[in-house]
Amino acid sequence: MMAAMSATGLVATALPLAAINWHSTFFLLFAVLACVCAVAVVAADNVVRMALYLVLSLGATAGLFFLAGAEFVGAMQLMIYVGGTLVLLVFGVMLTAQAPFVSIKTAPGDRALAGIVGASLLAVLLLSAFSVEEWRKPAAGVVGEPTATPIGMALLGVRVDEPPAHAPAGVRSGYLLPFEIVSVHLLVVLVAAAYLARAKRRKTPRAIEVAASVEPPASVAAHAAIGREPAGRSGSVLVGGPR
């Protein structure tokens, strides 16, 4: 549902509409969805529902990014947050949300305390947001033809914030690429730590090991010793043989 909305939102931005209200209606829609879902995450008591609301609210913020024309960041949000972290979060929640852990009740006292802390932080945020000059003026319109090329160039070491004075000679190196390499390094370290800290656990032996470890009963082991009787007419052992 949130993906469909971000879809129509995209269609709207592509054709620069003279009537801005489509743009603002979607903005309002996504903003309200994000806030409501954020509150729902806190208010819900079923763990899996919390995870779902988190998915919806982060999806709505991705929609906001697309509306603002920052497609690369919007896609990044969808892929990293919603597609990556939240999948693992839902994984964890599903594995542990067996009967006793599913519903988490919060005592009324805690709700009140959390409400106060939350409200105060919100107030600080709103005050600082409204005190900034430029943000009061109406939006300056949609950035035409956003491309991901500047981000690509920045990754390759070209300073993107101040435009270079003249052609390639004025290129000054940026620090985005080393920053990425450090983060990959961090990932490697994390994986190694997880591997080292794994818990040891007894394993159920595979059938072949069981069969191998059970040394064959004496009878069968000695079987090969007996010469093979000719495949004559078999019958009861009590019949035939020297009288």
Binding site: E229, G240, G241
Partner: protein, 176 residues
């Protein structure tokens, strides 16, 4: 090593275990004392000349004539006959062991006759003995987990007994 020579070797190894024999029958068999069946099986499997390493089939035959009129004319004694068919994969020969059990343990109807289990010797006997217990009603001493395998868990009675009465209904399903 066939025929009477095999028998002497068996009797030499386990004196007093073999209590009867019939070599002229279509499938010659030897009768074994019920309580010695486990030792005889272990000997047959591990130290007899053609080793009998495969147990083909375990059967319980219920010799009993339910209605009194015919019971008088019958030639045999009412008993339960346990029949073990053995097979040697190497020598490709078979052997039939029989053991006679009373129909009910010390003749009190409802008490199942008992015989030592050979599940320890051949692991295939595990399921075969479960089936005999379930349908013919014979208790196997020393069986790992004796339970009903074919009939439902809460079924009463042992269907293959000659004097078995089909229950009128089972959980509401009409029997007759």
């Amino acid at each position: 090593m066939r025929g009477p020579a095999f028998l002497e070797k068996l009797e030499a190894a386990l004196p007093g275990a073999v209590t009867g024999r019939n070599l002229e029958a279509l499938d010659p068999w030897i009768e074994v004392a019920p309580e010695r069946i486990a030792d005889v099986s272990r000997w047959l499997k591990e130290s007899s000349e053609p080793r009998f390493d495969a147990l083909e089939c375990v059967t319980a035959v219920d010799w009993c004539e339910p209605d009194p009129k015919k019971a008088a004319k019958v030639a045999w004694q009412p008993r339960i006959e346990m029949v073990y068919h053995l097979w040697s994969t190497a020598a490709r020969v078979s052997l039939v062991l029989k053991a006679t059990l009373p129909r009910w343990k010390n003749d009190t109807p409802g008490e199942l006759p008992e015989i030592p289990s050979v599940a320890g010797v051949w692991r295939t006997a595990d399921w075969h003995e479960l089936e005999v217990f379930d349908i013919s009603g014979v208790n196997f001493i020393g069986h790992p987990d004796q339970r009903r395998i074919l009939c439902p868990e809460d079924w009463e009675g042992y269907p293959l007994r000659k004097d078995y009465e089909m229950p009128l209904d089972y959980h509401g399903i009409r029997g007759r």
